[in-house]
């Protein structure tokens, strides 16, 4: 089945016109008591500015073969200090002729801003966030210097920006999905959001964390339905370290689509003209059936190629049957090969642009079903966006496949160059997801809830070993480092990898299966690889520089044992079960300070900079979300001949509570100082009340970095 759906990125503005239906003057004089507010509540007197009222109208229409959307914005803001004057004195707006800006002086005098002096803004200039459209990522902007602006003035502006584009032949149009926190840059006395939707369109909407729900109101035009909500007395937006904005602050999400055949769409389509506010299990099942079961896209080359691969594997390993887990593994990596290395792509899926994840699930479905491997299909929302029960947009769900290996679940997410078999992306650990259990009889499909494997400190580790030598000059330290990472920590280290190792492996594997395409690298590829290695080295050096005074960086080496591969199933050679490992060496200075005739060795600093919680962050508004993880560091420092160390007991620390710990111990073993450090974030979630406990072990880690030991000359 071939479908063309315009994605967000491929939105092409065929042309734009500007609606002249309502002029700014008419808007400003229209009776709307909410926009008569001029005073601000006492509690916001010390704010920089206060939004007295704002009304955002999003209008979606269809006329004469065109899809039209309008963004109609009015904001009335009281400016209370010089900072806000500076901000609004240089005013940006989406390029439109239908705009009006009024300045209301404290005595009530109204000054209309002459917009003739507005000038276009170059593309490279970053538009301040406040003026950016919620609705579109890229548009032409203009700017104007607002005259006569003074503290206590009110700026009241209105604009209507319209875009029209031809309705595609498919008679389908998907507007970008919107996810916004309704806490604004400034506190807001009143805000109203209105969706005006042509009655043949579909709208999905969901409010979460206390954002108001959508209401319908009478429309003056029969073809248009109007949905709205009002909100008042809203504090300004404040974000905190380790908190999910959309999970902690009042948030709305919505999307408008115009679609003829809802069945073929990967969107959750409700009744036209009625906001769809939830998704049922039955709908999720239906989506899976429509998009995966009834789609025969992957029966061609991909599956016959997989057949060849499995045959070869069976022969090479003298097996009667390929074990189910290995079938899934081969299907997974062959899929990756098709997506990244095969110029022909996936023959049947080439035109399918809705989502990489659905394409992947289709491929896996066809392969696993054909080879009778038990599996289920999982649809999961990312932890920072939504709870499963609040999902209403297709963009909120990641499609994946679950297989079982003995008692363990293996979740297979769409692969990238560097992912291993069973890797879980950071934001999906521990989330509750839909699990669709397929059956040969589609009527018997079931939807259950399943929790993706949660992250724990045990499966997200980073072990660092530092062997430290002081040069004879008593100034520079030579360090040999080894880092071993698992789980999410492994993912974050994999930026070091280049695709060559994967490509070479696949060259060997798939060429044997007589697939016509083979990979060959030219000079350019090697140049690029060398550039990449330089870039990685630069990044590692920059990381070191944030912690130490770097004198010289040697080189890094990756140990490829931690890469999950296709046909290699010997974990002593390579396996995703192995950690990602790299070694490097470098020289630093600045850790030795003179203390009379002796030296202070800033041993604690070798741990590297630790998270510091400044005073202003000690009070916590939101609960805490981060990755549970465990860091272990071993430092082995060779004590220079003729010296002893005093004060190493200061390196012993133990702050441990239910949220995590920082434990360190130091000992002298022969001519070495050995320091063992363990730092752990225990859970993915902590209540804000427990923040002091988190701060306690974070502070301990910081304190550790300040510890110095005395290097004393032996008498």
């Amino acid at each position: 089945m071939k479908k063309i759906i315009l994605s967000l990125l491929s939105l092409i503005f065929i042309y734009q016109t500007y609606a002249q239906d309502i002029t700014p003057d008419e808007i400003f004089t229209k009776e709307d008591p909410d926009f008569n507010i001029s005073d601000i509540p006492e509690k916001w007197k010390n704010e920089s500015a206060v939004i007295l009222c704002q009304k955002l109208i999003y209008n979606f229409d269809r006329k004469n073969g065109k899809i039209i959307d309008k963004e109609i914005i009015r904001k009335r803001i009281k400016l209370l200090d010089k900072s806000s004057i500076n901000k609004f004195a240089e005013f940006y707006f989406i390029s439109t002729e239908n705009i009006g800006i009024n300045i209301i002086k404290p005595d009530g005098t109204l000054n209309k801003v002459d917009l003739k002096a507005a000038v276009s803004v170059s593309e490279e200039i970053e538009i301040p966030n406040f003026y950016k459209s919620n609705f579109r990522s890229k548009r032409e902007y203009k700017k104007i210097a607002i005259p006569g602006l003074e503290v206590n003035d009110i700026i009241d502006y209105y604009y209507n920006a319209e875009a029209k584009r031809n309705l595609p032949n498919t008679f389908e149009y998907i507007f970008p999905e919107i996810l916004i926190s309704i806490n604004n840059t400034y506190p807001t006395i009143k805000q109203k959001i209105e969706f005006q939707v042509e009655k043949g369109f579909n709208i999905n909407f969901k409010n979460q964390n206390g954002a108001p729900d959508l209401q319908e109101k009478a429309s003056p035009v029969e073809e248009i339905k109007i949905f709205y909500f009002e909100d008042s007395n809203r504090d300004k937006s404040e974000n905190e370290r380790w908190s999910y904005l959309y999970r902690n602050t009042p948030t709305i999400k919505f999307q408008v689509v115009y679609i003829k055949n809802a069945k073929n769409s990967d969107h959750f389509i409700g009744e036209t003209g009625v906001p769809k506010k939830s998704v049922s299990d039955a709908e999720v099942i239906a989506k899976v059936k429509d998009l995966v079961f009834f789609d025969n896209g992957f029966t061609g080359k991909y599956r016959s190629h997989l057949g060849n691969v499995l045959k070869t594997y069976k022969k090479d390993h003298s097996l009667k049957e390929v074990p189910p887990e290995m079938i899934a593994r081969q299907a997974y990596f062959l899929y990756r090969h098709y997506r990244y290395f095969n110029p022909e792509g996936l023959e049947a899926g080439n035109n399918y642009q809705a989502g990489e994840d659905i394409l992947f699930v289709k491929a896996m479905f066809n392969a696993l079903r054909f080879y009778k491997v038990d599996f289920t299909i999982v649809l999961a929302p990312p932890a920072d966006v939504s709870d499963i029960n609040d999902v209403v947009l297709k963009e909120e769900l990641m499609w994946l496949v679950k297989i079982r290996d003995g008692n363990n679940n293996i979740f297979l997410f769409p692969p990238s160059f560097h992912t291993s078999f069973g890797d879980i992306p950071e934001k999906y650990y521990g989330v509750t997801a839909y699990e669709i259990i397929p059956n040969q009889d589609t009527k018997l499909y079931k939807a259950e809830r399943i929790q993706i494997t949660p992250a724990t400190p045990a499966n997200n580790t980073e072990k660092t070993s530092l062997v430290v030598d002081l040069d004879a000059d008593f100034s520079t330290f030579n360090i040999k480092r080894t880092v071993k990472a698992t789980g999410i920590q492994k993912e974050s280290q994999q930026f070091m990898l280049y695709y060559f190792d994967v490509a070479m492996e696949e060259y060997g594997t798939y060429q044997r299966t007589l697939y016509p395409y083979y990979i060959s690298f030219g000079t350019k590829d090697y140049e690029r690889q060398n550039k990449y290695i330089e870039k990685v080295s630069e990044r590692l050096q920059n990381d070191i520089k944030t912690d130490f005074e770097l004198v010289k960086y040697g080189k890094y080496e990756i140990d490829y044992k931690g890469r999950g591969y296709l046909l290699v199933d010997d974990s002593t050679v390579r396996s995703e079960k192995n950690p990602f490992v790299f070694h490097d060496d470098f020289t630093i200075k600045g850790l030795l300070k003179k203390a009379g005739s002796n030296y202070f060795f800033e041993a604690g600093k070798l741990l590297g900079a630790q998270v510091e919680i400044p005073e202003k962050e000690l009070e916590r508004k939101f609960n805490i979300n981060y990755n549970p993880r465990a860091y272990q560091t071993e430092i082995k420092f060779k004590i220079p001949e003729g010296y002893t160390l005093e004060g190493i007991e200061n390196l012993n620390m133990n702050i441990s509570n239910e949220t995590g710990h920082f434990i360190s111990s130091a000992a002298i073993e022969e001519e070495y100082l050995i320091i063992q450090i363990s730092k752990q974030y225990t859970h993915a979630f902590e209540k804000k009340e427990d923040w002091p406990k988190v701060v306690a072990f974070l502070n301990a880690a910081n304190k550790f970095t300040q510890v110095k030991v005395l290097m004393k000359k032996k008498i």
Partner: protein
């Protein structure tokens, strides 16, 4: 006012798209040898030839009587595979780019077209400018490939053709600049910053036309790389000032800028054409000075009102880049550029009965003085007040500056003050480092691993201005937090409490902060000894210059810090060791650190000054030695023992 505009070079390269074409062996060898000399460069200009020619309009009444054509012809060799050549040139309302063609390795017109883009040139801090950036990009086929281009730019008003530089952002082996000056054209070509360069000059007269061609050549030019805190290029890079003085047509001499008087005539003509309706300002001026009897009070009221209420927004739009906006426009808009603000202040002072005049000045960024009749001399406008025979220079763009004090960026610079048909030349007075003194005093006691005490800080002059400005522009609800962050210097191991400050709106006098302070982790107990690190700010610790820096380092003003800390020696302890003292004094800078054990206290004093606000590159060695000493003492510890 027009500022010098530099080329904006975008790092941009195109890797694909051009098939490898034949590169002769000798070119590959040349590239190989050039790579030894220019390790980090992607390409080198083998030859760059710039020619200026002057042309009179055919029709005497043409609105553009005189045009200058600038032709740039360059040959470049590529030193790295997968490289594209990127360059850009500025044009504006008084010039345009006529043409560009690419040249192949033999210098012939190539079939390949460069990628051209034209966009508004938005320099940082300028709200709107008529300047446009014309950038041109073309790929090289590989290492050793030679390519070139010829670009023609036409100046339609010679006033705006002020200078031409030899350097580029990549090395050039041979740069030749020539001027084909017809007999009817009078132009002075002044060589600037040629010390240390072997300039080759030549001039030839065409016997037929009597036109003289002047040629200036420099060889082996290194790339001119941007360095932070460096002087403006007119101070350092060799260039030719182009001073077009007059032209003669049909035996009639048409003056251009023959001398500064001519320039002033043009400036004052523009000023006269400003339609000031100062009566609109009268009620405001009267309100501001009512009840004030002393001149200084009245002047301050007006000067500070403009500083406080007119927002500086820079416009560089054609002729408006030189003509002030009317006083009533700036007053009503509540914004203006330097000219608009100076003009408004002048009109307000006139209403109040003072002698106030517009004044043209080039900030320290520009090397020139008024012996040069060129608009390149000036990039700023202020207002001069003449009171009891004394001149005061008022720059309303300098928010929070008190009356009678001058920002370092204009100190010592020559000004042109309007004086009817004539003008006055003066210099803005200079002030010493004492004006900007920062003083810190603290007394500490040891509390376990921390130093606890009270600290006071005092800021004067320009060290104070920056604090007042940032504070005034901070959101009201963030002011306290930002102030604390400033004092803590982003060091989370420092805790401060009970912060009291003097009035953060007050221009006169010093700005004071007093607060309680805890410096965590500054004391280490080992056995019977305490090791103490007393200076947590460690100013200038990482301010050494690396060997690659080529340009002087400029400070924003003359810097002067004096610090005195006292540490009470805990009972039962004696001083076992104090770090070494430092005393390094040069005419350009001073670094002094002193420890003393006196009356049960350790007295730590420190003095650092940069007396002329610059560390010249010749002094980098001495400066780096001083910083190394400073670092050593910062890393050393006071040792107390039982």
């Amino acid at each position: 006012m027009k500022k010098s505009i530099f080329l904006l070079i975008l790092a941009f390269s195109i890797h694909d798209g051009f098939a490898q074409s034949y590169i002769p062996e000798e070119d590959k060898k040349l590239a190989e040898s050039l790579k030894n000399d220019y390790k980090d460069e992607s390409y080198v200009g083998l030859g760059s030839f710039v020619e200026f020619s002057f042309e009179l309009a055919k029709d005497e009444k043409d609105t553009i009587p005189l045009k200058v054509t600038q032709t740039i012809r360059e040959e470049i060799i590529c030193l790295k595979n997968f490289t594209s050549y990127v360059n850009a040139i500025i044009y504006d309302d008084n010039s345009y780019i006529k043409d560009i063609t690419l040249l192949d390795s033999k210098g012939k017109t190539s079939f390949v077209k460069p990628i051209i883009s034209k966009k508004n040139y938005e320099e940082n801090g300028i709200f709107y400018s008529d300047s446009k950036l014309y950038s041109y990009v073309f790929p090289f086929s590989g290492e050793g490939a030679k390519s070139g281009y010829e670009l023609t730019k036409v100046y339609t008003d010679v006033k705006y053709l002020t200078s031409i530089y030899f350097h580029s952002y990549y090395p050039i082996q041979k740069k030749t600049i020539s001027f084909k000056v017809p007999a009817w054209m009078e132009v002075e070509l002044r060589e600037m910053n040629m010390n240390g360069y072997s300039l080759v000059k030549n001039s030839t007269v065409d016997p037929k036309t009597k036109a003289t061609t002047y040629t200036f050549t420099l060889n082996e030019l290194d790339a001119d790389k941007t360095e932070s805190h460096a002087p403006g290029i007119s101070h350092t890079l060799p260039h030719i000032l182009i001073l077009c003085k007059s032209y003669t047509r049909n035996e009639v001499k048409y003056p251009l800028f023959n001398n500064t008087a001519d320039k002033y005539k043009w400036y004052s003509g523009l000023v006269k054409s400003v339609n000031n309706e100062s009566s609109q300002l009268k009620p405001l001026v009267e309100k501001l000075i009512t009840g004030k009897t002393k001149d200084q009070e009245k002047i301050e009221a007006l000067f500070y009102w403009v500083q406080n209420n007119i927002r500086y927004i820079a416009f560089e739009d054609g002729i408006a880049g030189f003509r002030p906006a009317s006083c009533q426009k700036v007053y009503n808009d509540k914004y203006g550029d330097c000219k608009g603000m100076a003009n408004l202040l002048k009109q307000m002072l006139l209403i109040a009965g003072y002698d106030a005049r517009l004044t043209w000045i080039g900030t320290r960024h520009i090397a020139y003085n008024n012996s040069i009749p060129s608009i390149a001399v000036d990039n700023h406008m202020i207002c001069t007040l003449i009171l009891n025979g004394q001149k005061y220079f008022l720059d309303p763009t300098e928010t929070y500056i008190p009356f009678g004090e001058y920002a370092y960026r204009i100190q010592g610079k020559e000004v042109i003050i309007e004086d009817g048909d004539k003008y006055l030349l003066e210099k803005v007075p200079e002030s010493g480092k004492d004006k900007n003194k920062i003083q810190e005093f603290a007394s500490f006691t040891i509390q376990q691993e921390s130093l606890t005490g009270k600290k006071s800080e005092k800021y004067d002059g320009e060290s104070k201005l920056n604090i007042l400005r940032s504070y005034s522009e901070t959101k009201t609800d963030k002011k306290e937090e930002v102030l604390k962050d400033f004092i803590r210097g982003d060091d989370n191991s420092v805790t401060i409490a009970n912060l009291k400050s003097s009035n953060l709106e007050e221009r006169r006098g010093a700005l004071n902060f007093d607060y309680d302070i805890i410096l965590n982790y500054k004391v280490t107990d080992i056995g019977t000894e305490k090791y103490v690190s007393i200076d947590h700010d460690q100013e200038f610790k990482n301010m050494d210059f690396d060997s690659t820096r080529k340009k002087d380092y400029l400070f924003p003003y003359k810097y002067y810090l004096v610090k005195k800390y006292e540490l009470v020696i805990p009972e039962g302890y004696t001083v076992k060791y104090l770090p070494e003292n430092i005393s390094i004094v040069h005419p350009e800078f001073t670094v002094k650190v002193h420890y003393k054990n006196e009356g049960g206290k350790i007295i730590y004093t420190k003095e650092i000054s940069v007396d002329e606000a610059v560390i010249p590159k010749e002094k980098f060695k001495e400066w780096n030695l001083a910083i190394a000493e400073l670092k050593k003492t910062y890393e050393d510890q006071i040792i107390l023992s039982k």
